[in-house]
Amino acid sequence: MSFIQSSFAIIIIYLITPAISYAENRLIDGNIFYTIPQTGGTDDFHTGKIANVNYNYYFKPWLAVTGGLFFSEEILDNVREDINSTYQSSLETRGLTLGLRPEYKFSDRNKVYARAGILYYDTTLRVSELFEPGISNSSTQSTSGNGFFIGAGWAHSFTQKVTFQLEIASHKQLKLFDGKTSSEQVFDLTTSGFSIGLGYAF
């Protein structure tokens, strides 16, 4: 973990201790994140979904530490063809997040919030190739590492405990396949998009 990421984690831990008890100072939210992954290369992924579940602990009425996990479906790139084969790549990703969630309540039932922090990913890339009828191959490689995320959203309280939230966010996974391939082929993966979800305060 980098120095910056370590420092961030230490700050979060410092902020949440000593614990200050507020009524309903915990929130669990679950979201479906719609995104088009981008690697900065010639990829052209379809829209995919990443589910995330977060636990938010409010040590101040307007500030929570947030930790969560995420996992995606298999997200497909377009089918392509070159002189070697007809091929299609896809990826699946999962991981953990840790960050802060500041909020601003502008009415009884509505607030806006932001989320930012670090993440740990485990991403699997699959490439399926068709050479000619009867000759094909599918290969899978996994990679893990760190990254960061940032987002902003709006939350609306249906009841005192249940909220609906709409968020735009961007997750960045850094240096995929670092150490496994040449430095020119290492890439970052960005998943930006919007999510909708529900939260439960307790």
Binding site: I83, N84, E129, I135, T181, F187
Partner: protein
């Protein structure tokens, strides 16, 4: 429409590759015409244009009339003694491949070899290709080879006139003849014609019917080999096939990074060349046959050439 050198060169190679194989039947798809229904058929061309430091290579391979699609790393390699290149780019015709081979030293011997390069043929993919490098093994064509010797560059190409106002006009095309070879090199004259009426532009290609194809340094040619009247039911003009028009469109779109619209050649209003200003880019090819290492269809051909160009202008007004 100003044509860049590269547009002209690639168009020239395409016109050349099509013309040395085909008859004049028009077809409406991207299948190379004139391919025999049985056996292995190979068409290979190499051309270096005056003032250009690379050789344009093209290769099309067919088995029993169908394109022999290369896969798994099989690729045609073109080389001189100084450099080599893999023909990775798709040619205009289904089953054809192309590339530019650096040749600043103007070397004449060009070698073609079918090689097996599973990693290099995956370059351009966005993911780490060294981690996903399944190799199905070399195909049956690997090891096949061919060679051609490029003839000398046609020098001092000139026309007795460059401005014309009637399709009945003619001109004398001259160039420095080469010493007689055995077998003799032959001369081909092809054109890229672009006509405009101020709002629309038409382009097409033709091949001039010469008195003879000998390399004698002189040829009388009529303008009606390049400019025609669309109302004429029996034009004497010999068009490059319609595929060449589509190919020119693709080249122009590609080389202009999409600035030229897809309907560049889709003229809703047909321009009659005989009534409008036209620029005629004449390509003079000096060409000679090469040889294959393995038996191919008797119609297979490998041709090497060098070319020059000259521009003529037609304005009937």
């Amino acid at each position: 429409m100003p044509y860049t050198k590269s547009i002209v060169l690639k168009s020239a190679l395409l016109l050349f590759l099509v013309q040395f194989i085909t008859a004049c039947d028009l077809e409406l798809d991207t299948n190379l015409p004139g391919v025999p229904a049985e056996g292995r058929f190979t068409a290979v061309a190499a051309n270096q244009h005056t003032g250009v430091s690379s050789v344009q290579l093209g290769a099309a391979i067919f088995i029993d009339g169908e394109p022999a699609k290369l896969y798994g790393g099989d690729v045609v390699q073109g080389s001189t003694t100084n450099d080599f290149v893999l023909l990775l780019d798709d040619g205009f015709y289904t089953g054809s491949y192309s590339a530019d081979l650096p040749n600043a030293a103007n070397l004449s011997q060009i070698e073609f070899l079918m090689v097996h390069k599973p990693l290099e043929t995956r370059e351009g993919r966005w993911y780490p290709i060294d981690l996903f490098n399944f190799d199905p093994g070399p195909g049956e064509l690997v090891g096949a080879s061919a060679s051609v010797t490029l003839p000398p560059e046609p020098l001092n190409i000139a026309s007795s006139s460059t401005n014309f106002n009637s399709i009945n006009d003619s001109f004398n095309l001259t160039w420095t003849a080469e010493a007689v070879q055995t077998p003799a090199d032959i001369i081909k004259v092809r054109s890229l014609v672009s006509c405009a009426n101020g709002t629309k532009t038409n382009t097409y290609g033709t091949e001039a019917v010469l008195v003879d194809n000998s390399d004698d340094g002189t040829e009388d040619i009529n303008i009606d080999q390049f400019i025609y009247d669309i109302t004429d039911t029996e034009p004497t003009i010999k068009f490059i096939l319609d595929e060449a028009r589509a190919a020119l469109q693709e080249l122009l779109i590609k080389l202009s990074n999409g600035e030229i619209a897809d309907d560049f050649f889709a003229n809703n209003e047909i321009i009659n060349p005989v009534d409008n200003e036209c620029e005629i880019t004449l390509f003079l090819f000096r060409q000679r046959d090469g040889s294959f290492s393995a038996p191919s269809s008797p119609d297979s051909k490998i041709v090497g050439s060098r070319s020059s160009e000259i521009s003529l202008f037609y304005n009937p007004n």
